[in-house]
Symmetry: D3
Subunit: 235 residues, 6 copies
């Protein structure tokens, strides 16, 4: 159930049941020539909707902007600063706490290091300042658990077979047919002013191998793993 | 055309045509017992999509959070601070400028005073720092032009006949049937710690008079007026 | 009574009577060829002094700097940023609260949108964080109530007949004789990098029609309306 | 000549002559039982007006708020934070630079350590970022040069014989007759949460010895020394 | 060569040779009952000194404070905020750039996620704003490469066999003899207000197995790997 | 006893005895051709270690970076901003307070005005927000008490006979033999963009007269005076 679809009174009634609030965090980011810029939004939003239905959670309005480094200079990437992202998530969580929410699943489609830290610090601030329980992760990490068992190559990553398969399941109309191989070129520990040189093709992996069937399996794997984690860790 | 649905290369091609970028800004805000919390998101997003189709603009991923005062303490309102909202819009506009965009229509569904100022200052910063043209307004103000000519009462406002009609056209399934009358109680120039007392029912106007037909007319009026303004002011 | 003229002990005695503290906020801003840069300071300071005498209020030291947009690039306008203005007013109000003050009338001579929002947000912060009552407005808005009834033209505004008349009453020596007509040219909803183009002459209205008599009437109208509002709204 | 008394065009003409801009900085601060809270405003403003007349300088609108430590908890002291004061002065200087001003005398009546640093850092920022020359000092330090030669006791300081004499010359009506002796009690290098304990009477020195004649001599000494310093250091 | 041991002129001569500047970043952090709080400072400082001698680099004055989460509430941990750490490293790098430095190795003994992001963002800002090359890593990660090949258990981590061995080599006098086993207890993706519960003993691994010989090998491994990386990545 | 040399449990035991925590603050700053850049670090660190031994205090990890104005543009000076320095000291003090510390001696080797204010404001914030006692000073000021009695010339200052003597006692190997005379050239109250012009030689005084014997006496004078002050002011 999307919070934005509820009236004031329906929201009040729902919040009284102490539901988990899922906050899906996307991005607008270049994902190679074959995937839409909203790839990182589509995945966690689909997962959030399915999971919410299964466990009776509420889904907060998604954010479709994040913080980017290696793709920052590629066409179509829209970038927030660390501070903006931190305060955006802090404000939303704090406002939901004022509304009576106590349990949160913050689910990010994008998994860049600084992006994750900005969100994690916002979660930490909320967990420390209020009596709230927060789980925070990227659904990408759960999908990547299953991938090797389904023959996905080790170097698969940003815009690769896993992400392409998942989008082929969610929005097949947005996936292009021209799907060459993409390579990640490590620059070790150098902090680069032009980090896009790490992705000469703009993505990493073999999207040509992607299928909607694999995507469906990966997407449902994420949903089920989240159910398990919520149960196991007592969110 | 939604930017998030384009691939990197489709976006590059589109931006080379110097399109207007429409950034729809919504909110998650209590709108009385009969309207969904996402009321202020639904309206500008509908308008943005229709307008984009007519004039060949690109629609950036919507933001569905804003800054609120009088409804801040009502259930379901999620509130950003002034600074967060300012930096959020600044970052997005600046990032789009880096991507080559030069013309922007920033369209806010919510029209609260401080909310509008935060966005306007972000627009001003971008217009001043870069060579870009920006039009910024609330679609509410354009809808309100037509309202009196269609018999809407003068006191109609937040969550009233205009907004209810517009949502009945866009998402009739989200509008409740219990639609009493709502009153705005002025407290003059007092700056209140509990400004929700200005809206005892949580909205202002006669939503019982709302119809999908009026909503359709209002929604299209907004689209057409925007077309005229863009032409007249040479955006 | 000006706070700055009291000794420590006189201030202590006065504050124990729970007086209203009037904080007059001016500006240093171009007002056409005929009016002094301190026009927006002179008006609220005169009003504050008269009102204080009538109701036994204390007048805090005036601020003569504000935030400007349309006149920002005209000679003589001195401009604070939004954040500076917000923190300045916040600090002063908070410091007065620590001193025991509980009731405030914040009176701004300048009425620009972002300027007013910066001050309003500072008032809101104080009203919310402490047990204090705050009324905030521009005296311009009260003067403008009476103007049409005295034959002032509808387009009268910044530096026009109303302001010129009021300064002719307060400081006639500072008003110039060359008073052509000034026009406001709307640019609709465009956010302009050069907003001074809205005021080709630097002001709007017919200052040639201004008289000290009208000014006197307007100035006293403001004082009396403030008395009524303070009574009505129970400041 | 006060900038606020000039019209836009008079200001333009004046600034073209490359005048020194004097910015008088006061305070609202407890000065014992005998002196007004505006003591630190009256002194630099008087000096600024006299000096401006002698050397053809422009006087910017005064600020009557500063940053305080040892008197912060005394009745009537109104306190800005370090950051607010820094940004206030920075904004004003930068705005004047944009207006064409190149030479500044920033003259503070209050001489507290952190207060002076906040202003000095704002001056330094302006001097470094723009091609401008800035002299910054407290007029108190110049008055204190002469004091020992006129028999003022070594421990004289805040609210003492020097300041009382100077106010007796400028605004004798604001000086009280009850003027006991005040003592400064050093707490060495301790950073105190209650630093007002350093001034049990709220001031330091023998204000009973103050005279308007001494005040007049001190005030003119400051004016003349400033003239010399401006000449000597080529402001 | 430590920068702090050079005179102004020796520094000038050295910087003209375009040396690598090594900035060693430590921490003051609880490391179980057997290791000193300065464990994370001792390691990168030793490495920096050895490496500097071998490649002719300059060592900047070390920082011995960092940002901590899981050990934050343990006795002896001293914690900087994200923003403080970011600005500290930014200021130092920028100041060194102004001094003519162009190549940096930023070497952190502590490897916590948010700590590393704060430093990385500071490095990124410098690399982007100036023409400088920066390598940034934790020496811990290099030591951990060798550890499994020397029989260190997979769960070894904070304060474990690797760190204990390294300190036994550098400062044996600071290592305690009571060295029980320590366990890391994962809480999955929960963001905890009391993250110290992840380290019931305050460290992870088998420090009883630590030896100075292993420490010496690990320490030199780090030095040599850094030499290789600097060569390979053309710092 | 250095905090960084203690284990977690040793630190816990020590803090329970309510010790004074000494925080030595140094700098990396040009001190003429004859003194090392770390001059301002060596002095307070030596003092802190001696004093700690005599009174049973704990020494926190030193900071070797500060804020500089007149030497900012000289080779080897590394500069923090006011805000960075303020937050750095605030964070460390607050973290130590959370650890149970209640008494602090903050001892700065560098004594520049803005540097001292940044640290003092951080101390003030801590003293006000928590129940802690803080003494803050520069050891330079104590050394300068004795200097005139030992024949040091009045103009001696930055990098002069006092500092050179002290370093000759602490680290004679770091003091150069070429020690001409240095002059301080006052620019009165001008706020200069190039303040290094005040020190044409980079220091002030007659370092040729410096001796290790004088340095030893000065260094011990500082230690003993601190003992007296701690006793007298009841730190």
């Amino acid at each position: 159930m999307r919070i934005e679809d509820l009236t004031r009174d329906e929201f009040s009634a729902a919040i009284n049941l102490d539901p988990i609030i899922i906050l899906p965090l996307g991005a607008t980011e270049a994902h190679g020539p074959h995937l839409p810029l909203g790839t990182d939004s589509l995945q966690p939003e689909w997962v959030a909707d399915q999971l919410a239905e299964r466990i009776g959670a509420l889904v907060a309005p998604p954010i479709r902007y994040g913080m980017h480094s290696s793709t920052r200079n590629m066409p179509g990437t829209i970038d927030l600063s660390f501070d903006t992202l931190y305060h955006l998530i802090s404000d939303i969580l704090e406002s939901l706490v004022r509304n009576g929410a106590k349990r949160f699943l913050v689910l990010s489609g994008h998994a860049g290091g600084s992006h994750m830290t900005a969100i994690k610090e916002a979660c930490r601030r909320t967990a420390t300042a209020y009596d709230s329980r927060i789980m925070f992760l990227s659904d990408y990490d759960l999908a990547a658990e299953l991938a090797p068992r389904r023959g996905v190559a080790p170097g698969d990553g940003h815009g690769g077979e896993v992400e392409t398969s998942r989008i082929m399941h969610i929005r097949p109309d947005l996936v292009g047919d021209d799907r060459p191989e993409g390579e990640f070129i490590s620059h070790g520990f150098m902090v680069l002013p032009d980090p896009e040189c790490c992705f000469p093709q703009g993505f990493a992996g073999e999207p040509a191998k992607a299928t909607a069937e694999l995507g469906e399996e990966l997407n449902w794997h994420v949903v089920k793993r989240l159910e398990e984690l919520i149960m196991r860790d007592g969110l």
